[in-house]
Symmetry: C2
Subunit: 734 residues, 2 copies
Amino acid sequence: MGKGRITIPTDAGFVEETKKIMKEWGADAVRDCDGTTLPANASELADKVYNTYFVIRGDYDWAMANKDEWQHVYLLSGFCTASSDTLKIRLMDGYFEQQVKPDFASDPKKYWEVIDRTTGRLLDPAEWDFDEREGTVTVKKAELFHDYTVSFLAISLWDPVHMYNSITNGWTEKKHIMYDPFYPKTAKYIREHLADWCDKHPETSVVRFTTFLYQFSLVFNDKGKEKNVNWFGYSMAVSPRMLDAFEKEYGYKMRAEYLIEAGRYDSSFNVPTKQYLDYMAFIEKFVCDTIKDLVKITHEKKKEAMMFLGDCWIGCEPYGEYFSELGLDAIVGSVGGGVTVRMLSDVEGVRYREGRMLPYFFPDTFFEGNEKAAVDELNRNWMTARRAMLRNPLDRIGFGGYLALAAKFHSFMKRASEICEEFRVLYDNVKGKSPKNFLTVGILNAWGKKRSWMCYMVAHELWYQQIYSYQGILEALSGLPVDVRFISFEDIRKGVPADIDVIINAGDAGTSWSGGANWLDEEIVTSVRKFVWNGGGFIGVGEPTAADANGKFFQLRDVLGVDKEIGFTLSEDKYNLTAKKGHFITEDLSSLPDYGEGMKNIYAMNGTDVLDIRFDAGHMRGVNTGEVKMAVHSYGKGRAFYAAGLPYSFENARLLYRAMLYTAGKEDSLRRAFSSNVLTDCGYYADKDVYAVINNSADAQKTDVYDIKGNKIVLNLKGGELVWLDGKDFPSAE
Amino acid sequence: MGKGRITIPTDAGFVEETKKIMKEWGADAVRDCDGTTLPANASELADKVYNTYFVIRGDYDWAMANKDEWQHVYLLSGFCTASSDTLKIRLMDGYFEQQVKPDFASDPKKYWEVIDRTTGRLLDPAEWDFDEREGTVTVKKAELFHDYTVSFLAISLWDPVHMYNSITNGWTEKKHIMYDPFYPKTAKYIREHLADWCDKHPETSVVRFTTFLYQFSLVFNDKGKEKNVNWFGYSMAVSPRMLDAFEKEYGYKMRAEYLIEAGRYDSSFNVPTKQYLDYMAFIEKFVCDTIKDLVKITHEKKKEAMMFLGDCWIGCEPYGEYFSELGLDAIVGSVGGGVTVRMLSDVEGVRYREGRMLPYFFPDTFFEGNEKAAVDELNRNWMTARRAMLRNPLDRIGFGGYLALAAKFHSFMKRASEICEEFRVLYDNVKGKSPKNFLTVGILNAWGKKRSWMCYMVAHELWYQQIYSYQGILEALSGLPVDVRFISFEDIRKGVPADIDVIINAGDAGTSWSGGANWLDEEIVTSVRKFVWNGGGFIGVGEPTAADANGKFFQLRDVLGVDKEIGFTLSEDKYNLTAKKGHFITEDLSSLPDYGEGMKNIYAMNGTDVLDIRFDAGHMRGVNTGEVKMAVHSYGKGRAFYAAGLPYSFENARLLYRAMLYTAGKEDSLRRAFSSNVLTDCGYYADKDVYAVINNSADAQKTDVYDIKGNKIVLNLKGGELVWLDGKDFPSAE
C-alpha cells in the first residue's frame, strides 16, 4: 500500500478516526469543508492541511464599514412594450431584492442605458428619467408599441453562493457581502487580511482560495431561485471605477450593452465581440496582478496557494494569458467525468492539480440503506475519470464532506482505499511517461485555447438538452489516444498549424462553437480548404461552418460534402439517399449511433458517401427527402466526416476515434496500442514500455489487445478492472 | 339525376360507350388527353368539347425554321473551388444535354456572370474567358481555394414536360421545342397559328390552353432526371431580348444574380427582392398582354378560352395583377385536396372553374385486381375536396385519362356517377348562397395575395418533409367556416385591415412564409402589436416572426409568449415548464396533437399558458429544459396561440378552428352551425337556411349538430355521407 496524492476531509470531533482512514487510504492531506472545522492540531494529522479562504467576502464588519466599495453587477430590466406614450420600467421586476439593488448613487445617466429593442436605438439620457424611490426609469416619449429595456448597474448585497447555501440550508451566519478590490480601501484590506489570517492559522499549509476576486454570473429571481447562471460570465466583474479605468486605458467607453448584449450577456455561446474581449483582457490583467500579490503573501507566510476552479474565478482563467505567471502552487476542482479531469490536468503553470471526486460525503448520499448506491457512484466517477487519467492524470485526488458519515459505510471505505491505490500506481506509470498519441486534433471555435475543455458549458458540469450532443465529443476525446488542442479562428487565419492532423468544428449555427460569421471570412475558409486539400482531416458535427450566405448554409459544404436544407433549395432534387454499407469508421458499431438531438434537414452533395440516412417512417411519402446523419467526403488529398451529433457513449467514442484516423489518413494506426472492445481503452507509455488496459464497464469484458507494433493478445477483464501489461506480454511478430 | 358540370375524357374509338357514360354521370363536356384523339363528331357528344392547345410548342417545323427565337433559361454552373490559380468551369456539368445548351451566341460577357462564392464578388468580364467548343468558362486568375460559379443563359432544346413524357413513355413524336413570343416572328406566329387552328377545329368549343407562354422552372440533370423543379420559378421566362427590354423600361440591368440568387433561383421560399418583383411584374405584363390577344382571337372564333393552371403558367398567376382583365372564360387544374380546390374555386375574373379529380384513368391505377383501390382513391379525393367545396365550390369537376380503361370497373363507374350527382346538389345549395363564416383570418407572409393557397408549395401538390407541418394549416382552413385572406407585410404596414380577426404567421425562420427581415421593420412589428393589443388574434406556427436581433429570435415574443432558444440565453433559467390542463383550444383532442416536424427549443415566457410541453425521456436529466409545443398568451385585449407545427389531420383542423375563435375572443361562436365530431364538418347557407353535414371518414359517425342559434340535434352519418338539413330540423330554443 502506497501513500500520498490523496486528500480527505476532516473535522475537529473526528481526529482519531481520521488518522485510521488516512492510513487505510494512504492519504497525506486533510481539508475543511462547509460545516466542519479543522482540528487544532491538524498539522500533526497530515503532511498538508488545506484551509478554505475567501478573498472578497466573509468579513461582515469590514463590509458594513465600507459600503462604498461593495461589488456591482450589470443587469437588464425586462423588455417592456409601450402601450401609451410614456413608459415606466420597474428595474427590479424579476430580480431578488435580497441579492441586488439598483445603484442610483453612481450616475445612472453615465452608466445606464435605455435601448429601444424594436429598432436597437440607444436613447439619449435626456429622453429618460429615473426615480430612486419607486425604483423605476421612465421613457418620457415612448414610441407606441416599441419595447424598451434599461441596462443598469446594481449593487450586490449578498454573495450569491453564500446566499444560496444560507437560504437552502437555513444558515444563520452573517451575510457574506462582496467588496471590490478595484477600490483602494479593499485593495489594501485584502492583502493585509490575508497576511493576518496566515499568521492566525499556523496549522494551515495550503491556503485553498475559494476563489479570488469576482464571482461568475449568478443572479437570482424574485422568488429567490436561480435566474441566470453563466459559469463564464463577467457581468459581476464590473463597477463604476472599473468602467472609468477601462475607458481611460482603452480609449473608448465600455458601454453597458457590450456586456449585456440585449440580455444575452456574455454567454460564451456568443461569438465574442472585440469590446468584450477587450474588457476580459482588462479584468484579467487586474485580477492576475492582484493574485500575484496574494500568492506572494501566501508564500512569505510559508504556505502554498491553491486555487479552487469555480465561484470567483473570473479573470484568472487557467487557460488565459497570465495564469502561468501567477505563481500558484496548485489548482483544485470537482471531477464529474473525463472532461473535468482534463480541464484540470492539462493546466500549466502550477506544480500540482487536484480533483475532488464524487460522491461528496453529504447526507443526501450517505444515509442508511444507500451504501450500494454510494459505492456505485464512486465506481462510476472513478471509471469515467480514469479514462482521462490514462492520457494525462491529475496529480492528486480528494474527497469532501463529512468523513464521519462515510466512515460508517465499510464497503465504501474499502473501495475508496482500492481506488486511491489504483490511482497512485496509475500516476507512477503514466505521469510524464510520454503517453502514446496517434494524431493531433484541433477543436476549432471562436474561443480557442481560452476555453480548453470548457466548450459548450453553461452552468459547470450541468446537462442541457442543447449541449450534450456536442459535449460528448470532448468527453470522448478526454480518454482517446490523441493530442487535443483548442484553436481559435485567429490561430488558423494564416494557415492551420503544422502539427494539426484533424480539425473538429461542432456546434449550433451562429454560436461561438460553430463560429458564426467567422465562416464568411475568406482567410478562414481558404485556410481550412487548403489544409484539407493537402491531406488534413475535417470533422463537422451539428451545424459546422454554418452561416447563411453565398447560396450555402455550410460554408464548407464543398469540404464536408453535406449541407443543411433551410428551405431555399427545396426545388433542387436530392438523389444521394442511400447509405453505404461497411465503412472503416462504423466497423465497431453494434447499431447505428445515437446522435442525441441530431440535426434535421441535412442532405448529401453528389460524390459524398452517406453512412447513415433516416427517413421519417410516420410521415415520409417517398419524395426526395431523407435526413443524412453521417457521411464522409474526399477533398483533394484530405477527407471530411460529418455527424449530426455525438453525445457521449463508448460506441460514439470509438466512432470518433475511427473518424479521426480515417480523415487523417491514418487508418493503419488503429490496431496499435489498442483494445478492440469498445467498452475498454488502452494506453501505452513508451518510457516504461507499459500498457494500461481498462474496462470502463461494470461487467467482465473480453478484448483483443494490440501492442504498439500490432501484435495481439486476448485479454479477459473483470468489471471495472485495470490491467498493466508490458511489451514482453505480447507475442513477437516474427 | 341531374345533368351538367361534369367533364369526361373520350377517344375516337370509344364514342358509343362515351355517350352511355355521359348519361350515367350527367356529363356535359368531353375532352382529349395525352394519347387520345377527339372523335370527329365530338360536338354531337356533348355541350362542350375541350381541346388541348399549346401556344409556344408543338410546331416542330416552325421551331426548326426559327432557331433564333427559341426560349432560354438561366442556369448556374456547379460551385467550383480553385485548387490552382486558373479555374476552368464546365458549364454543362450536372445538366442534361438533350434539354439545354449554353447560348454562346448571345454575348456571354453581357448576360453571364462569374461570381466568387467565397466573397460574393462579381468578377469583371475581363477576368474570365469562355470556350464554346469545350463548353467552359475559365477564371484567368483565381484566388486559391475560393469557389466560383458561372451564371449563364442557355437555350432550351426541348420542352421539359414533353421531354419527360417522351423519355418516360417512349414517345416517338417529334420534340416540342419552345419558341419565345417575346421575339417578333413568334409573337406574330402564335396569334396567326391560333386563329388558323380554331378554324381547323370546328368541333372544339373550349380551347384548353396548356398553357400560355413560359414554363415554370423544370430542369433535368445529366442522367435525364429532374434536377430542379419550382412550380413558381421564372428562370425559364428569360431571353436576351427580354433582359434588354427590362433594362430599358426599369432603368437598371436585370442581373443574372437577381434571378439565380446563388442557386436558390427564384424559390418562393425566398423573401422576394425588389429586383425579382420588378422582373415578375415586367414578365406578367407582357404575358398578360399577349394572353388578352389570344383570348380575343379565341372569342372571335366563337370558342371559349380555358387556362390550365400549370406548366406554362408563369406570368399569368391567377391571383396576380392582371388576371381578371384577361377575359378568360375558365380555369382548370388538378385537385389533390382542399387547398387545390380553393386555389381554383377562389379565382376571380373567370366565369367558371373546373377541377380535374383523381384518379387519372391511367394503367397505373386501372389494372386488373385494383378496382377497390381505384374506388378508394376516388372516395378519398372527393371527400378531401368536398370539405373545401362546402366553403366555396368549384363550378365543374372532371376526369382525365382513358375512359375505356375506367369503364371496365363497374363499381368505380357507379361511385363516380353518385359523386357527380352529389357535387351538383352541393353546388346548387352552396354556390353564391352566403356560406356562413365566423371570422376572417389573414395568412401573413411576404407574398400575400399573389400566392393565395399556394404557400409552402415546391413542386405542385408534392409532399416535402419541410412543408407538411405548415401546409396542414391551409388544408385545414380550406374547409373551415372562416374567410381566408392572404396578406403581405405591405398590406399591414400602415395597420392591419379592419376586417381581419386573426393573423396567422407560419413557417421556418428566414423564409418568405415566416417573413425574415420584415420582422425587423418597426412599422410591421408595431402594426401587429397594436392589432393584437386592441383585441386581435395572432397565431404563430413553427418559427413565426423569426429574425435573430434585439436579443430576441421571435421578434414578437412579447405577443406570442414564447421564443426559441438558439443557444445564446441558455444561461437564463426557464421555469414555465408545466402544461395547463383543460383549455378551450384543446377540448376536442383525443390526445395531444401531432406537430409533424415540430420545432425544437421553444420555451415559454412568464405569464404564458403552456398547453403542451415535451421532455425528452431518453436524455433529459432534470435540468430546466423542456420543449414547449403549444401555448397561449394574452396581450392587451388580444390573444396569441403558438403551435410547433400543424400537419393536416381532422383533429388539428379542429384545434386550429378553436385557436382562431379563442384568439379572436369568439369562443361563443363555436357551437353555431357546428358538428361536434372532429371527423365531420358543417356548413350553413343563410339564403336557403340549409345545413350540410359531411362525414369525412369512411366509417359511420355520430355527432351533435348545432344550428345557427345553437340548438342541437344528434345525427348519425354513414361512412362518407353528406346530409342536408334545414332550419326546421332543429328544435326551437324556446
